[in-house]
């Protein structure tokens, strides 16, 4: 497996009103391979968004470096797509034009844009809502539209910042299945940040536990439940291995 992303000893300090800066992340080392589905699991405030923003190139770490395929990350890049917790869809555009945004910005031809938009709207199940206004979409549909808007750029690395945090439990389950299926179909690399242990166990091939004060990696685990769920074994959430791993993860987070 080839390495796609490497984080080298990353630390992040935020300036504060007080004398001392706030240490959000300390000594983060991580290597991500092509095709991985990484879930970064941690309580809120532990620095998950900070980490993701550094990988996206929206934030510069105080020290250390992030590299994608050996090249240092110095800014944003459409090859690294970002799915935000709150879908910042543009209300002045309809759903289609929101999804088309990235391709248009990069000067892709009109015809090509149309076929691609149709394809990705179909992938996320929004074919019939292309002409809808953003405020006419439900929370789950907005998040699907955002997903299509990011995936249409065909990013090699997809970053997701608690993408289902604002959704109800039923919608969330459907979205998790959608994300898993798309990942298996497109075969890209995903880093998803979450505070939900079950979400991490159901989606990840690798779980990275982040704990706070200051944010650091407290453990790493392999998981294969996502592939088992994909191959039809939805019940694997009730197996003893699943429960044992869940206990272990909860233990680390609680004791931190």
């Amino acid at each position: 497996m080839e390495e796609i992303l490497r984080l080298k000893n990353i630390s992040m300090l935020y300036p504060t009103a007080k004398q001392e800066d706030f240490q959000a992340l300390v000594n983060i080392d991580l290597s991500v391979n092509e095709g991985d589905f990484i879930c970064v699991l941690g309580p809120s405030g532990c620095g998950k968004s900070t980490l993701l923003n550094i990988i996206a190139g929206l934030l510069k770490p105080t020290s250390g470096a992030a590299e994608m395929r050996g090249k240092p990350i110095t800014g944003t890049d459409p090859h690294r797509g970002m799915v935000f917790q709150f879908p910042a869809l543009y209300p002045w555009l309809n759903t289609r034009d929101n999804v088309a945004f990235g391709l248009k910005m990069r000067g892709v031809g009109k015809k090509m844009v149309q076929t691609e938009v149709d394809k990705y709207l179909g992938l996320v199940g929004l074919s019939e809502f292309g002409s809808s206004r953003i405020y006419e979409l439900s929370g789950g549909m907005k998040q699907r539209a955002q997903l299509a808007r990011v995936l249409i750029n065909q990013p090699d690395l997809v970053l997701m910042d608690e993408p289902f945090g604002a959704l109800d439990a039923l919608t969330r389950g459907g979205m998790q299945d959608l994300i898993r299926n798309l990942w298996m179909q497109i075969k890209n690399t995903v880093i998803l940040v979450t505070h939900d242990v079950d979400e991490a166990l159901c989606l990840a091939t690798r779980i990275v536990v982040l704990t706070s004060r200051p944010g650091h990696i407290a453990g790493e685990f392999k998981a294969e439940f996502t592939r088992r769920i994909a191959s039809g074994e939805a019940d694997c959430q009730y197996t003893s291995e699943y429960i044992a791993l869940k206990k272990e993860l909860m233990g680390i987070i609680r004791s931190a």
Partner: protein
């Protein structure tokens, strides 16, 4: 459903209020509770309105007076809109541009326009130029300030998402900043035309030989209160029409306003 009914009730209340005021006016003047030399009857006001419409007032019909005022107003407003929007958006975007333009505008913004009107008349004469310049200066600050604040209030998520999707800085300006500020732009235009409208009337009262404001002032010098009244009604209706037109534009241009 419930809201629709309330809306209807509100409209009825408005209509009744206006009707009561008109009736009181009619009674008070026709029954001579007040002196009709000071306060004309509705009939006299209407007659004056018809007379200035057809016969005109001092060589110009009402329509000519009104279009003289509106011509000044819209020329200045158009210039202020174009420059104010561009300056405001750029200054919201760039702290350096803000450092240049903000002090200039903040310096004269608190002044009542008529305070520097005398200077403009001195420099540009009593004709149209000084009035257009005055109205331009009066319309500019609300547009500039609101657009500037609009840019600075844009959700960082819009900017960050556009950036991660591959939009260059220039494209972010055109495709994110501009449309995201559209609601603010239109609000600022509404404020500006309100300011400009009251300024045009006031300026014509200070120095002019045509225009609706001048007509009212001149008529009052001859104690023609019927014409003064008719003129004031015309001004008021024109103001309402302009504001309603901008509201309509707002509904058409930013249907998402208040729904995100």
């Amino acid at each position: 459903m419930k809201e629709k009914r309330f809306e209807k009730n509100h409209k009825i209340v408005t209509v009744v209020t206006v009707a009561v005021i008109l009736a009181l006016w009619f009674l008070a003047t026709n029954l001579h509770w007040i002196d009709t030399r000071i306060f004309p009857t509705p009939q006299a006001t209407w007659k004056a309105f018809v007379a200035v419409c057809s016969g005109g007032y001092k060589n110009h019909t009402l329509l000519q007076h009104l279009s003289a005022s509106m011509g000044r107003l819209f020329l200045a407003f158009g210039l202020a809109a174009v420059t104010g929007i561009i300056m405001g958006l750029v200054c919201g975007w760039s702290a350096y541009a803000r450092a240049v333009f903000e002090p200039m505008i903040e310096f004269y913004r608190p002044l009542p326009p008529l305070a520097y009107y005398t200077l403009l008349v001195l420099w540009m004469g009593i004709g149209n130029e000084s009035k257009v310049a005055l109205l331009y200066l009066a319309c500019l600050p609300p547009i500039f300030i609101t657009c500037c604040a609009g840019v600075r209030g844009i959700s960082p998520l819009y900017l960050e998402s556009a950036e991660t999707l591959g939009a260059s800085k220039r494209k972010v300006f055109v495709h994110i900043i501009l449309p995201a500020c559209l609601p603010d732009i239109i609000t600022s235009l509404r404020t500006a035309i309100g300011v400009g409208y009251s300024t045009v009337v006031a300026a014509e009262m200070v120095a002019a030989t045509s225009g609706i404001g001048w007509m009212v002032l001149d008529a009052s010098n001859y104690l023609r209160n019927d014409i003064v009244f008719a003129g004031i009604f015309v001004m008021s209706f024109t103001g309402i029409v302009i504001d309603q037109a901008l509201r309509l534009l707002e509904k058409k241009a930013v249907p998402w306003k208040g729904r995100v």
